[in-house]
Symmetry: C4
Subunit: 209 residues, 4 copies
């Protein structure tokens, strides 16, 4: 029969290993995704509100793409940390880097929303936006690679699964690089590429079992 | 006697199935409901603060209705996820959609507060507001329907309870549709309908046992 | 030997009864207390920053009083929910009301900070501020009274402790009423009364055992 | 065989001792670190966005330094509370003080970002910034000292480890004091000192075992 102290110790250990990293990360994800709404605002001349709301499509489009992107990276973060049994200092630093780029997204989203409909500055805005998503995806990939190398994952991932996951992650990185290049041709297409990446990752991918 | 590893495994499994979805959702609900306060602000000519505070009733009314609405949807979310034993990818995507519409509410609330007292634009503002609540309620209903269809709930819901829950949810949807229509007649009545819906759902409904 | 399903069930039950109410409330408390910082901002003519920072004392004073007040109400909320073994619908609605008033505090804090140093409007601002703290304290008291009446607390509170807790709570309410009245005489004294209330509640009070 | 009530009681006790303090603190850390992004904003004349983004380096530099600083203090907080087995009232008040200074950082960060590139006010801004980090570090140190004195830590810290931890903490305090002094000579060097402190604490330090 396990004594009270022992049960407490086991519980604390299981809870502490990764739970507070997840809790803090969840908090940052939740705040960052919700701060996206602060980019939305409308000013209209009297009687022009309906028309003004209609003209705000760059704000809605960027809101949806960024919301889905942060939501998906959270889901992937969630799935990844389920398999992490131990969080070392390097993982925590890489995770902090990831959160730093996630937190930047409300800024780059507001930037693109503001300039998407301008002829002169949509290139710089769209390239900055896609670059912020790329930085976020790269730092997520780094946590995965470090977790693999430092053997932080539980033993459920076979070599062939690892190859699949690396291919799946790399595909996203490649599309973000393409979106940066495309920004200088057509900012809306660049945003659409980012949106398609989000939709692609909404699907669960191959089942690992 | 269960060994340490086994207890840990059970705990992790029970925790992981739905706990992080709830934690992330709780975070988004908590941030969104608190961001409502950022809509409140007063500017007054010297000596006119008390009068200016009194004129801000559209801000207070919309604050209260939106706070109660998000609070209640959180309670219902809470009650629903208590009965969910397994979170599949589709549920997580639908939940993300729900959170996207919840997060929009501080925006639509600020919009209605700003234009409720104007003759020219209160219709567009009130319709947008009620539509944002309808979108939120629809996506919540979608998580319920999917949970039922994919058998994600624990076995405690009988068929007659399901019928009752569907009727109760549909009532709310119908009132929001009515509130959108009413927005073009009288924006304050439209807001009042949304407020009454919140008060209606504050009551716990029939006990399911 | 308890089976896996049984252990899971016990855990879920213990976790679900009050844990998500606490998690959501913690989130709202944490966001509301952190949003206080958004009231702080300085604009200064070139070379005047140091002087401008010095003139901002109403912002610092109100920041500290509100931060401590929300922090303490969180601590008391924490202590209270530790003793709650069951959360019924009425408690959740009262808790939602409490959170609604807590969330208002960043607004009333910003209001007082802005007008504390003006001759014409400090009365209205200080009265609004103290009234927002009173509303928050009253709704907290309501959760306590309901919890007692509906027997939601664990059995550790004796009648004499209940009398002590009611007296301690009432003292705070009385001081907030006094602070509202004092607002019309001297807004800074009114704020000081609110600050003293916070410091008073920082002390743990009599030990209940 | 432990009965259901007993298991619940153990679990609640283990959870309640420090878990909600950690959950609330995590929330404040997560919101404060994410609010940093609200300091970032760009306004540019048509066709000047790329150039304007380039000129915003004080905003990026302060964002990175503050993000890493809050992230690291969170990690240290996390590591410290893992070893705390009991949270008394004094610890909670000291922790509240720490959170109050953490929450100030988005304000002092925005201040430094705004004035770092000005000749006239960079001294006041950089000194305020470094002072806010010093206040935060001092209050963190206070929670450590109190935890040691009141024997709130689990028994894993030997005297020689305590000496090491005190030395490590004091080093950070000394650099922040130096950064305040340096602010009056060169604000950028002062910021760089704060950044180096963050990088220094990113490394895990000597292993305590």
């Amino acid at each position: 029969m396990p004594g009270r102290a022992l049960v407490s110790a086991w519980m604390n250990e299981a809870r502490n290993e990764t739970a507070r990293v997840e809790a803090f990360s969840d908090g940052v994800f939740a705040v960052a995704i919700t701060l996206l709404v602060l980019n939305l605002h409308v000013t209209a001349a009297p009687g022009q509100l309906a028309a003004a709301l209609g003209r705000e499509w760059p704000y809605y489009a960027t809101y949806v793409v960024s919301f889905l992107t942060i939501g998906i990276i959270w889901m992937n973060h969630h799935a990844q940390f389920e398999r992490i049994v131990r969080a070392d200092r390097t993982l925590m630093v890489l995770n902090l880097l990831l959160l730093m780029f996630v937190t930047l997204i409300p800024f780059s989203t507001g930037l693109l929303a503001k300039y998407l409909d301008t002829a002169s500055d949509q290139q710089a805005a769209a390239a900055t936006y896609a670059a912020s998503l790329l930085a976020m995806a790269l730092s997520f990939f780094a946590t995965y690679l470090w977790g693999t190398r430092a053997k932080l994952f539980s033993e459920q991932v076979l070599a062939r699964h690892a190859r699949y996951l690396i291919a799946r992650n790399s595909a996203g990185l490649a599309v973000y690089v393409l979106a940066i290049a495309m920004a200088f041709v057509n900012a809306t297409v660049s945003l659409a590429l980012c949106g398609l990446t989000a939709v692609f990752y909404l699907s669960p991918g191959r089942r690992l079992d």
